[in-house]
Symmetry: C2
Subunit: 254 residues, 2 copies
DNA sequence: CGCGGAATTGAAAATACTCAAAATTAGTGG
DNA sequence: CCACTAATTTTGAGTATTTTCAATTCCGCG
């Protein structure tokens, strides 16, 4: 139907082309093509739509937009949030490179939340109907897709646990440890990273106010558990933060 | 491979058999077989394992159990909950007839939460590997399965919104309206139903204490919005509760 | 009839919020 | 590059919602 893209038939791959393909993407071991062989990765590549650049504060999709594509983040960071009838918003997650956006839209054929770039970012557009066709041909791809959706379900259950019965300091520790481990998975430092979102976003996500986040940062800093400079965080006592996050340790206010 | 079950080849269907099949199940328009034609429903029926009865307070599966099956609820009610490292539990949902349990387990091949029956219940065991085989043959089934998983994602996002930025009275109103609409979907009254879970379970789910739930019930009763007798609830002012749930109206304490 | 779990109610306490002001940082244009 | 303005963050003080603790009450069940 669609003519095969040049790099799919050319024996000598163009580097530029390779970079714009799943096979050449640094995230391919984390992203949708995880575990596929070269043939299947190429098949996946052929259905991927354009790469789209989204600049900071721009939305990738809005609530109620019709659902056409899933999006894989090539680089950059996003936040997703819902807006309730009375206009208040709740951030439901922060996403980074290698993660998939838009799965909430499958059920109603419209997006259920809004995705906004936290910095200049790039995504791969994955037309869902074409992905569904591929599922019939690549069972491994289908199985992995189910794992990704299921992972999103368990991630959200963890957030429910956080919001439902953790105190402020524990919530914040869980947030930091979660960021830390995701950066670590991506080959970055687990103890030193930049927060891409505002204090307000963190507070909204954790069900706390911006003032509470600020106070928590100050307290954690005073306790010597971390260093903060603007959005740059250095974790000095990962074990303590992990214990706090696990709920096996708690600090007295001050 | 497996011999076809008798009702799949017999022209005259046995009523008992029919009742134990998807086609004969009162939930088939809500459950996994939604929208399938007779041929495909029969194919689905053939992979369904045994029907399993779970009595009140018994678990269907526990955290860390190896993942083999999804479960469709034929009748009865369940709660699912997580337990965090420090031993506290958080109820992540209440499930009723026609709903699917176990999707959280796909990602890690072990159950991520525990499912316990709130009353004597019955589920259909759906071996996941066999379901995956069917997906290749019935694209409609696959598409619907994705909608169900996606729906679970959006449901959890709604709970995150609830836990993240609603006050106690709004949370409780959302809970009541949600129950009401799910019973209505199933052909039961939307204004009169029985809560299958304890006050403690409700509180845990909503991120509140049992005492708060009790006080909310008393207040709503005093305001004339509902009638409560033990676990039996009659909603007297659905519009008011919906407005409360939407956040467009709020009641003053007392 | 009495026991035990569940639910209700009250009073005190605590955590996180709101409001306000100051300080810091980022963005913009000269 | 600096100055100016807007936005974000920090900090403090007082408040409010919800929790905790405690005492009753209710209800099912042996």
């Amino acid at each position: 139907m669609n003519p095969p893209l040049p790099y799919a038939e050319s024996p000598s791959l163009n580097v530029r082309m390779l970079k714009a393909s799943c096979a050449g993407c640094s995230m391919h071991q984390l992203c949708l093509p995880m575990g596929l062989n070269d043939t299947d990765i190429n098949r996946l590549d052929q259905i991927i739509g354009r790469r789209r650049r989204i600049s900071r504060d721009e939305s990738l999709y809005r609530m109620e937009d019709p659902f056409r594509n899933l999006y894989a983040i090539r680089f950059g960071h996003f936040k997703t949030y819902q807006i309730n009838p009375s206009g208040e918003q709740q951030i439901t997650g922060f996403q980074m490179a290698g993660e998939l956006l838009g799965m909430d839209a499958i059920s109603a054929d419209r997006h259920h939340c809004e995705a906004v770039a936290l910095e200049d970012s790039e995504v791969c557009e994955i037309p869902f109907p074409r992905l569904e066709e591929l599922f019939g041909q690549i069972p491994m791809l289908l199985h992995h897709f189910h794992r990704i959706m299921s992972q999103e379900i368990t991630r959200e259950q963890n957030v429910m646990l956080l919001l439902g019965n953790m105190r402020a300091e524990q919530r914040f520790a869980v947030f930091l440890i979660n960021m830390s481990s995701r950066y670590s998975t991506r080959g970055y430092s687990s103890t030193s990273f930049q927060l891409r979102m505002s204090r307000e976003d963190i507070g909204n996500y954790l069900g706390l106010t911006i003032e509470s986040i600020s106070r928590l940062l100050s307290r954690f800093k005073k306790q010597g558990w971390l260093e903060v400079d603007k959005r740059e965080v250095i974790i000095l006592d990962p074990l303590m933060l992990k214990a706090l996050a696990a709920g096996t340790e708690n600090c007295n206010p001050m």
